[in-house]
Amino acid sequence: MSATALHPSELPEQPSEPKNYLNVAHTIKSWLLTGDHKRIAILYLFSTGFFFFLGGLAAAVIRYELTSPAGVVLESETYNRVFSAHGIIMVFLFLVVVIPATLGNFLIPLMVGARDLAFPRLNLLSWYLYMAGGTIVLAGMIWGGIDTGWTFYTPYSSMYSNTNVSLVIVGIFLGGFSSITTGINFIVTVHKMRAPGMTWFRLPLFVWSMYATSVVIILGTPVIAITLLLVVFERTFKLPIFSPELGGDPVLFQHLFWFYSHPAVYIMILPAFGVQSELIANFARKRIFGYHFVAFSSIAIAGLGFLVWGHHMFISSQSMYQGVVFSLISFLVAVPSAVKVFNWTATLYKGNIRLQSPMLYALSFIGLFTVGGLTGLFLGSMGTDVHLTNTYFIVAHFHYVMVGGTVTAFLGGLHYWWPKMTGRIYNDGWAKINALIVFMGFNLTFFPQFIAGFLGMPRRYHYYYLMPEVQAYHIMSSAGASFLALGLILPVFYLGASLKNGAKASANPWGAHGLEWETTSPPPTFNFVETPVVTDEVYDFDPVSEYEQERATQEMVHPGTPGLLTKDGELKTGDRE
């Protein structure tokens, strides 16, 4: 049980529950027609959770199928549909959406001190677009299926696949507009809705990273939308844009696709960086080290991210000269990510670290993202990429970044803001065990894939009887996947249980810093009773005096223990900057 849960509320218990965004109305209509960013975030939480479950189901089937070199239950046609479903659902309906739409939607107005996002109805429209898109994608997968993988490479997707590519693409197209509307909303909110005193450099880093994400979303998403639409045209009207038989160029598709999809990688990971910065600062009880560097590295990543798409195409027959340029810029874009990792690590130094469950997720994020990011260098270096691309190495790499990064950060963020979102405290013991399960299960699942990839096991292979020597790694991976699945299902139960049995959360159960903790848990419909005025700096913690206070409390309980002494033997407080 966490220490904070021991003193559940700083405020005296209200005789009747105050009005908050959850209990203000209970009808289904009040949810489906809401303009409240917090309710929309909850709607998104359920819908992305649903799609994550479906994508995870597909992953389970894949892992089961790969335990034997010659497959277990599926035919190749089905297997290809399953892995495509996994990729498409996870990328377009989960990873791109999850943190911006749930945590971002919920927190950005709270963090900048606004009553709502700038355009609440647009926000609701975005959820409906997402649901419509998701439904169409699922419909396409049920009627006809799709077997192109999430990359839709032409001419396979445009001329050869006999599956229902067009319908799925229409769904993704709608989902893209959902992202765009969310992005516009965030940008305007961050620019124009900040509370008095909330300067740019008092913004929490989560807001910075969401801003960078939104910029990438609005600049990148239209390109993929129109590109996929061209694929549909090619399928429907045989318009030869990408098919070489009639003069088109299949590599053009890859250029346009990765022009969006590489920045999309940053759409997936930048929000995770934001969550991570919040968790590290608030649980180390210390201002994030190099706040400005971390903030600007988000912007740098967003900008440079548009210049490296060609590193997905080193061996695709693009010009070698262009490849060299892309490789160089790829190494440059690695630096801001490294800066972030070092800054998080340095933040821990001389902190007053509370090892509660969100912090465990944050710490495992650092480890997993470091591995994921560094293995990216193998793929950004042109020579080594030749052998590793299209193999399980790349699968392991992006799962380390996407699952080890984004999903871990999402789980950490969900645990951290859960009391704010629901007003309830969950069982921290279970959550800590779960963080451990996720970390172990994840590594067991994906680390063996690095080795399988280096051995030359190509990705998207249903049968691998041509190289049975990698079977041991596949079996390890499948075993790890079952652990990981457990770690992803458990939170549903203990978080769900907290809704019924959990202690009521105070406004600031973690003792954290930030505007979202200044209002009640859960917040009222318009977030703040009065528009807050920001007068202090961001992450304004003082680990020394905090330690001192805790020490004093302890001394009252256990008198006689020595007080706070520094190395020099003197007492130092408030000694910062």
Binding site: A114, R115, P196, I218, K238, F526, F528, E530, T531
Partner: protein, 238 residues
Amino acid sequence: MAAITHTSDHSHDDHHGPLHHQFESIEQQNESYIVGMWTFLVTEVMFFGALFLTYTLYRAMYQHDFFVAHEHLSIPMGAFNTIVLLISSFTMVLAVHFAQLKRARAVIANLWLTIALAGVFLVVKYFEYTSKFADNLYPGPSFTANKAVFEHNGHVPEIDLNHAQIFYGLYFGMTGLHAVHIIVGILVLAALARMWMKGNRLVTEDFVPTELVGLYWHFVDLVWIFLFPLMYLMPKPH
């Protein structure tokens, strides 16, 4: 620091007043709308951008075929449409101008003028499209069967019909997408004009909603400014 207190006394579903509950002041709201509109237009730039890029690439690859194919387009019609759109932009900007001066009748007149010009544009486009469809110049299996339509000054030029098909695919794709934007614009303009005629406070009290529609309309004009020379006025390869 003096706290600017603002008790949230707006009722939740009060969408009729000009100021929405999430904003502090009408200035903040207006600025938000304008930033939002520009952000949306940036999205639109990238949306058309991918098509312009595709066009540029194939144009560079198949210069000759594109040139021959483009000769089948009618320059007078394209030029006329350009003039129509430029004038509609002018009437739109006048509408915004009079909205700033709160001269409702002038605003309404200019909005309807803009709609009428957009209608003229679409009618001309309709005739252009039907003539191309009559010649089977839409992408599809029937396209490559009719080399004769490219007859020019009495002889059929040498042309790779597959490449001409790419040209017409892009022509219909880009002008079609543009026409969709025109149609959406007409609907928005009509709604705006109606609100002005009814004296809806949402638009009459402040010119910003009119300006937002204006920004959108100018963007549509902007796309056509590039489409016209690229599609209709291709220089002869020499």
